[in-house]
Subunit: 312 residues, 2 copies
Amino acid sequence: MPTVEDLVERLFAGNRRALSRLLTLIENDSPEGRRALRLLYPSSGRAHTIGLTGSAGSGKSTLSGAIARETRRRGRTLGIVAIDPTSPFSQGALLGDRIRMQDLTSDPEVFLRSMATRGNMGGLAPSTAGVVTALDAFGKDAVLVETVGAGQDEVEVAGMADTTIVVLTPGAGDDVQAMKAGIMEIADILVVNKCDLPNADLLARQVASIVDAAPGARRTPIIKTAGAQEEGIGALLDAIEEHRAYIETSHIRERHRLEQARHQVIALARQRLIDRLVAEHGANGRLDDLVAQVARREIDPHSAADQLIGED
Amino acid sequence: MPTVEDLVERLFAGNRRALSRLLTLIENDSPEGRRALRLLYPSSGRAHTIGLTGSAGSGKSTLSGAIARETRRRGRTLGIVAIDPTSPFSQGALLGDRIRMQDLTSDPEVFLRSMATRGNMGGLAPSTAGVVTALDAFGKDAVLVETVGAGQDEVEVAGMADTTIVVLTPGAGDDVQAMKAGIMEIADILVVNKCDLPNADLLARQVASIVDAAPGARRTPIIKTAGAQEEGIGALLDAIEEHRAYIETSHIRERHRLEQARHQVIALARQRLIDRLVAEHGANGRLDDLVAQVARREIDPHSAADQLIGED
């Protein structure tokens, strides 16, 4: 049984199997996983991280595959983290998708990792950032995180990525008006995918009018793609490169990474604090007591929480 | 300026204006809001809480309106909390929707409250449970919480509701196969809405095959509706009543409310703990220091979190 230190050494030597094993430790948030992250973290921060998000059925996964191929054509290496339960990289894959992805899975310069979502309905696992760190330390030029969700997940992935791409499709039930503020808040690049479908031009025009109305120095580019036909992928890669250069020269990346660090430290501290509290008051029966009182409506949840943390 | 105690007294006397003002205090999570909840909580727990969730464009809002009308026809009172940014009850309303909802907004036995989402992309606000408590204490027979989202939000609303309804529509990009496990985990009732659209029968059959394959004593009912035409709404109300009786006689409701209480107390304690920590170490510069070290990759986020909570 190799130690974590052995595995990390092998990872730095380019061993994919060691990377895989470390990713499992990190994903399980085991003590070994945390030790691995401590060793890997100083060597991370070099990869360009890309978030790719959009609703189910928007063709994100096919798009991920096309982005990966074009990235390789341009001579760069890539890690892909698929948190999307509908991704062909994860278990839900249809046979056709799997075959289409085979050229990628056999390329030693592409590393795919599919992760379980937090619960069956999706959601970023808390260990996602750690998985990205490991792929980054492994030396990938870019790490793409693919996630599904119309809600909080997108905001989370945006908080983790240098460049966030939001994928929209005509007729997918995306209510552009309703998503307006949200899209502009997180998208660095907007993609209208399946641009061969009817209404694609209408959607692109709607999106353009929202983009035009948004304040700010940089106009969010809108790229039309057809992932399955690999159309528009060159333009998308160009837009990713442009955004990468933009955030570097304008020091946005620096500020953004400071925010990311803050967010991550607070999220981890929050989890540890509550774990400690639940362990302590779970063992002595205090938590069960308070919960039963709340369920019987003898005290309210706020007062119970105050008592639990010793602020009553 | 009336005190919180005055407002609570008026609420118990049936004053809607007092309820509105208290809801604002609760929604803002102000000290007055917490005091109000302390006073209201013992009188809550009587309302049947219903979660209504589904992706954007699934017609949930129109369905909420139809459910409200049928509830009133059956002589019961209702509170509606709309957290869906596309809901006609919230600002995103189209004129036509507003007009359609006018009969409800003028009914004194229906109380509508639209809430801001957590961030622009959706997500349940932490104060949602408090808003439900207030409507419950106000004496509403049922409280319906309408929320959008394909991800974590649905799980959250299910954790809060006695009965959770998941709305699906043909061709809305809902990937039934992918949602399979998730749907069965949270849905007490499945609705195939817009059942006049093509492929509605196909969707209903797909859903039925998932339901049939699921373990458990109770078969999740599948109700076909056309919200805009108010079709199938009687059957849906019957299914809600059936589920309500089922969870009462099988003591599921009791167990469920204990879980809800536990979840809520822990969530509130978690928030207070981190607020306290950030206030303390934010003021003394320790947090900024650690965050900067993480951003410079001098220490990893886990070690920083440990140091922050005093466990290094």
